[in-house]
């Protein structure tokens, strides 16, 4: 196995008695787009700051190409960073902002000029070189910040919720820009966000943080299709959870009894359960349909509401136990006859697409 490019080893950060980051370990290969996803206060930014050198970890190490970064002050780490708030230098023009990292490195004027032109064309702001940051929109400012962070060809680019101050349309636009720039430059990116859609859209891999620990790390698809815990399932995408009782697990397939007494078999258990243990059955809204498939389990429900969106249908159902279920049949499972609200109906799902988590 090749050596990791960036290695975060058992990084721990405590503030007094509070442990913000619990021994986080991640290896990042060169050129990867890795996102730290998690709710606020989950330790994702603190981990990023340890790499940037703003907060030294209480223990653990951060290695870049096998050399520890911890004893290196921020200004010698040669790391690029884009911040949540626009941190452009308000007294310098766009071109001088981008030139700043090169000027403090005493690069020759000709090189600075060429590099600034390259960077501004990378972020498509060639015509804004002489503007001042105050005269730019939020999205433009973040693009200048991106150009500034990449001007000195840093091996790693850190991005700390760079889009959170922008409106939705602008966010999507800049996301596309970030993807393109990652593709064109091949820079290794560590990206912090609390927005799961952003994480799914941008990342090669996602590390999902919860209370200072990594709950699960993998591709977006891994986390979505094979969530390791109820937290992951709930954080990434939409999920329905139903209370159930575990009966037995044989050959990797678990059987449970739902609240209404019906038995569902062939489920995937997140961990070994004992007989009679209370569990929660998770199934994605788009795994549910109104028509039975080849290997379907059925749920008896009342349909509360239905809505048609052209490419999909949304149905709100309620179990006899009172649990609300969100059903979003995809185009190939969409019920041609439609669905009408009413009691005594059934919805179906493939047990292989459902998971059991401890209650």
């Amino acid at each position: 196995m090749t050596k990791p490019f960036l290695s975060i080893r058992a990084v721990r950060k405590t503030f007094g008695a509070f442990v913000a980051v619990h021994d986080v370990t991640i290896d990042v290969p060169k050129g990867e787009f890795l996102t730290f996803l998690g709710p606020s206060g989950s330790g994702k930014s603190t981990t990023l700051y340890a790499i940037a050198g703003f907060q030294d970890p209480s223990s653990g190490d951060v290695l870049l190409e096998d050399k520890s970064l911890l004893s290196v002050p921020s200004h010698k780490r040669n790391i690029g960073m884009v911040f949540q708030r626009y941190t452009l230098f308000p007294h310098l023009s766009v071109a001088e902002n981008v030139a700043f990292p090169l000027r403090v490195r005493h690069r020759p004027d000709a090189e600075v000029k060429r590099k600034v032109a390259d960077m501004l064309s990378l972020v498509r702001l060639e015509n804004f070189a002489d503007r001042f940051p105050g005269a730019l929109s939020g999205g433009q400012q973040q693009r200048v910040a991106l150009a500034r962070a990449l001007a000195y060809d840093p091996p790693i680019l850190l991005m700390d919720e760079p889009l959170s101050a922008l409106d939705k349309k602008l966010r999507q636009e800049i996301q596309a820009e970030i993807r393109r720039i990652h593709r064109e430059t091949g820079v290794t990116i560590l990206y912090v966000t609390h927005d799961q859609e952003e994480a799914l859209h941008l990342s090669d891999r996602i590390a999902l943080f919860k209370e200072g620990r990594i709950e699960q790390i993998g591709t977006g698809e891994d986390l979505y299709v094979r969530p390791a815990s109820e937290f992951v399932a709930g954080f990434i995408g939409n999920s329905n959870f139903l209370p159930a009782e575990h009966l037995e697990t044989a050959a990797g397939a678990a059987t449970v009894r739902l609240a209404d007494g019906s038995i569902v078999t062939g489920l995937t258990a997140a961990e070994p359960f004992s007989k009679g243990q209370k569990v929660r059955l998770m199934v994605r809204p788009e795994a549910l349909s109104l028509t039975p498939g080849p290997a379907s389990a059925a749920l008896a429900v009342d349909i509360v509401d239905t809505a048609f969106f052209g490419d999909r249908r949304r149905v709100v159902a309620r179990t006899p136990g009172g649990d609300e279920i969100d059903v979003r049949p995809t185009s190939d499972t969409i019920d041609p006859a439609g669905a009408t609200a009413g009691s005594g109906q059934r919805i179906f799902f493939d047990p292989a697409a459902a998971f059991l988590f401890p209650a």
Partner: protein, 286 residues
Amino acid sequence: MHGNSLRRGSIAGLPAGSGGALPALVLVGLFFVVPVVALLLRSVTDPEPGLQNYAALFGSGTYVRVFLNTFLVAAVVTAVTIVVAFPVAWMLAIMPPAFGSIVFGIIILSMWTNLLTRTYAWMVLLQRTGVINRTLMGMGITQEPLPLINNLTGVTIGMVYIMLPFMILPLVGTLRAIDPMTLRAAALCGATPFQAFRRILLPLSLPGIAAGGLMVFVMSLGYFVTPALLGGTSNMMLAEMIAQTVQSLLNWGLGSAAAFVLLVVTMALYVLQLRLVGGKRPAGGL
């Protein structure tokens, strides 16, 4: 809209509520503008009409030296005040507000203490047999007393101490408006702490430095008590000269001329500062 129309409904195009400023304006008119005009008249009429007072002022080496010395002291005091005030202002700008208000309290308290008392305190500290000299000699650092009083050193120490709040207060305002993240960004861009200071923090704090610097410089130009008590006869300042001319020599014409020159210089500096700082602020920004 509603608030706007309310504010517009006023006399002679002035914002509503301007009437409240009337007493102050009358006061300034009566007790500042009128005396200044009287001063100007006196400087060209006393003892006889003509510009002979100004000729005497600029023709005499002694008076010119007093002028130059006044500017020198004011410049040195301003420079030293900026250097001493900057770290304090920065600390106040970034420290938690609870601690900040304590430090602010100390600074304000020192402003409320009687000026004469504070200057006499410095005399006690700085004189040949004062606390500082005795401590230094007692520790064997110096062999004989340092000349800390009745010279430029004494005036600078005493004045910087008095001027500090006037520099710190405007500077804190400017520094507080600077996002500390900007400096982190500079560091990650590869700027050494000195480069970050020199290229980012200093330019961004220039409006505060200019405002505080001008205030200190102008106040220093006309300062009387501290230079009179801590300075020496060889580096007399303008205010002291005016006092002597009027009180001892009873030469009102010459004293008025000197005072008027001081006023003109001060106003010119103010206009200059408005031009330099007021006009050149970067568009938008933080």
